[in-house]
C-alpha cells in the first residue's frame, strides 16, 4: 500500500509541476463554462417566453443541469486520453520503466499507483467544475439530488475510462499512439449502442448494455441503480486488469 501511495504521489506531483494538469484543467473549465453559460442563456429566454404565455415555469434541472452533465460527459471523453497517454508510455520512452520494473514493487502496485494518481488529477478537475451547479444552488432552486448523483456518475465514468486509457498506455512506448488509440476506443464506446435499434435481439441488448451513455442516463436524472454502478466498476476493473497483464508481459518480446 505504501508503494502505491508513493507512486500515486509522484504521479500527482509530476502532473502539477509540469503544465499538463493546468492545461487540461483550464481547457475543461473553459469548455464547461462555455456550455453552462450557453445553457443558462437558453433557459433564460425560455423563461421570459413562458412568462409571456403564462405557461408553467420551465424546469431548471431539465433545461440546464441535465444537458450540462451530458456536455461534461462528452468533454471528459476527449480529456481522458490526454491524462492517461503519458502514464506508462512515457516511462518506457524515458527509460524510467526499467527502474520501476527492477524495483521490489509488483505490476499491480505500479498500476494502482498510476491509476490513483491520474484519478486524483481528474478529481481536481471535476471538483472545479462543480462550481457551476453550485452557482445554480446558490442563486436558484434546482433539485439537488440529481446534481450529486450526476457528478457521481461523471466520477465513475471518468475512472472507468482512465483505467482503460492506462491499459492502452501500458501497451506502447509511444505517447501519441497511446493517446490516439484511447480516443478511438472511447469514441467507439460512446456510440456503441447506435446500431442497436436496427439489429434488435440479443446483440442489441449487449450493445446497449456496453454503452456508457445508457448507464449515465438514470444517474444524471437522480436515480442510482446497482446495474449502472456495477457497470462502471467492472469496466474500471477490466481496464486495471488489462494494464497489469500488459506490464507483466513486458518481457515477452
Amino acid at each position: 500500500m505504501r508503494a502505491v501511495l508513493v507512486l500515486a504521489g509522484k504521479e500527482v506531483r509530476s502532473a502539477f509541476v509540469t503544465p499538463l494538469a493546468y492545461i487540461v484543467c483550464a481547457g475543461f473549465l473553459l469548455l464547461s463554462g462555455f456550455f453552462f453559460f450557453t445553457l443558462l442563456q437558453g433557459f433564460n429566454s425560455h423563461l421570459s417566453q413562458a412568462a409571456l404565455l403564462r405557461d408553467d415555469c420551465p424546469n431548471l434541472n431539465q433545461w440546464v443541469v441535465l444537458p450540462f452533465l451530458h456536455a461534461l460527459e462528452l468533454t471528459l471523453l476527449f480529456l481522458v486520453p490526454i491524462l492517461t497517454m503519458r502514464s506508462v508510455a512515457e516511462e518506457k520512452q524515458q527509460g524510467t520503466f526499467e527502474l520501476l520494473v527492477t524495483s521490489p514493487i509488483t505490476p499491480l502496485q505500479i498500476v494502482l499507483g498510476k491509476f490513483l494518481g491520474v484519478v486524483s488529477v481528474a478529481a481536481v478537475m471535476l471538483l472545479f467544475a462543480f462550481v457551476f451547479p453550485l452557482v445554480l444552488i446558490v442563486f436558484s432552486d434546482p433539485e439537488i439530488w440529481p446534481i450529486f448523483s450526476g457528478f457521481l456518475a461523471l466520477a465513475l465514468y471518468t475512472s472507468a475510462f482512465l483505467a482503460l486509457g492506462l491499459a492502452v498506455s501500458a501497451c506502447t512506448r509511444s505517447q501519441t499512439i497511446a493517446g490516439v488509440v484511447t480516443l478511438v476506443l472511447l469514441l467507439v464506446f460512446y456510440i456503441i449502442h447506435a446500431p442497436a435499434p436496427k439489429l434488435g435481439g440479443r446483440l442489441a441488448e449487449v450493445l446497449n448494455y456496453l454503452s456508457p451513455s445508457n448507464h449515465v442516463d438514470l444517474l444524471f436524472r437522480g436515480v442510482i441503480t446497482g446495474v449502472d454502478i456495477v457497470y462502471f466498476l467492472s469496466v474500471m476493473l477490466f481496464g486495471l486488469f488489462l494494464a497489469v497483464r500488459a506490464l507483466e508481459a513486458q518481457d515477452w518480446r
Binding site: R13, S14, Q94, T102
Partner: protein, 249 residues
C-alpha cells in the same frame, strides 16, 4: 554472490546471449567487456530481472532471477545505460522517490538520501531539476538511485559513457569505493577502465562468454588489449555489422 549457468536470451529467433556461465564471489568487481552489440546489456537486464532468460539460470545471492525476482530486486541496485530520471523532479525528490519504491523504511529515508547525495557529490545540486543537469550529473543521480537502498549487488551499464575526463575519473573512484560494501558488475568497452576499477573480467563476443577470470590471471601473459583483440577480432572481421544492436531495442 552471482551464479550464472548456461544463460540464454533470444529475441524471437535472434540469439542475443548464448550459454553464458560465470560466477562472481562477494566483494568483487566484474567488468563485462565486449564490442557494441555483444550482449552486455542483455546479460545485465537478465540479472536485474528486467528481461526473463529464454533458458538457463541466474542466481543473485542465491535467489533465482526468474522465480524469485522480487527478492532479487530488493538486494539489487541497477543503473541502466541511460539513467532512469524523471526530468520534472528535483534531484532530492528523485532520490527520495527511488528510496521509497526500493523499500527503504520510512524513518531511514531522509538519512539515506543525504548520505548517498553526499557520496555521489550531488549535495550542491539537490534542489535542481534532474532534466536541467548535464550528463555527468545525470549519471551520478542515476548512481545515487542505484545505491540509496544499500544493495548487496550493484549493476552498472556503461557507467562512464558520455562523460568528460574529469567526470570519468570521479565515477571510477566512486565505483572503486563501492568494492568494500557491494559486489559490482559493470559493462564497458573501454579497456583501461577494467584495469582500473575491476578485479575480474569477462569478455563477451557475439553473445558468448569467451574469456573469464581474475584480472591478474588475464593479464599474466599478455595485456588486456591483446587478449581482447585476440578473442574478439577474428569473429568481428567476418561478422561485423551483422550483430543486431541491443541498443536499438
Amino acid at each position: 554472490m552471482i551464479e550464472v549457468h548456461n544463460l540464454t536470451k533470444r529475441y524471437g529467433t535472434i540469439p542475443a546471449v548464448t550459454d553464458l556461465s560465470f560466477t562472481l564471489p562477494e566483494g568483487e568487481v566484474l567488468g563485462l567487456l565486449g564490442p557494441n552489440g555483444a550482449g552486455k546489456t542483455t546479460t545485465m537486464r537478465m540479472l536485474t530481472t528486467f528481461l526473463a532468460p529464454s533458458s538457463g539460470t541466474a542466481r543473485v545471492c542465491g535467489f533465482d532471477v526468474r522465480t524469485e525476482a522480487h527478492e532479487v530486486r530488493k538486494i539489487l541496485g541497477y543503473l541502466p545505460e541511460t539513467p532512469p530520471l524523471y526530468p520534472e523532479l528535483r534531484v532530492e525528490e528523485y532520490v527520495r522517490f527511488v528510496a521509497r519504491i526500493k523499500g527503504v523504511a520510512a524513518r531511514d529515508v531522509t538519512e539515506r538520501v543525504d548520505e548517498v547525495l553526499e557520496k555521489c557529490a550531488l549535495a550542491d545540486v539537490r534542489k535542481r531539476l534532474c532534466g536541467q543537469l548535464s550528463k555527468g550529473y545525470r549519471q551520478r543521480i542515476g548512481l545515487a538511485g542505484a545505491l540509496v537502498h544499500r544493495p548487496k549487488v550493484v549493476i552498472l551499464d556503461e557507467p562512464t559513457s558520455g562523460l568528460d575526463p574529469a567526470q570519468i575519473i570521479h565515477v571510477r573512484e566512486l565505483i572503486s569505493s563501492l568494492r568494500q560494501q557491494h559486489t559490482v558488475v559493470l559493462s564497458t568497452h573501454i579497456l583501461p577502465e577494467v584495469a582500473q576499477t575491476c578485479t575480474r573480467a569477462l569478455i563477451i563476443s557475439r553473445g558468448r562468454g569467451v574469456v573469464e577470470g581474475s584480472l591478474e590471471a588475464l593479464t599474466a601473459d599478455q595485456t588486456l588489449e591483446e587478449r581482447f583483440l585476440h578473442t574478439v577480432a577474428g569473429e568481428n572481421v567476418s561478422g561485423a555489422g551483422e550483430q543486431p544492436s541491443e541498443d536499438a531495442r
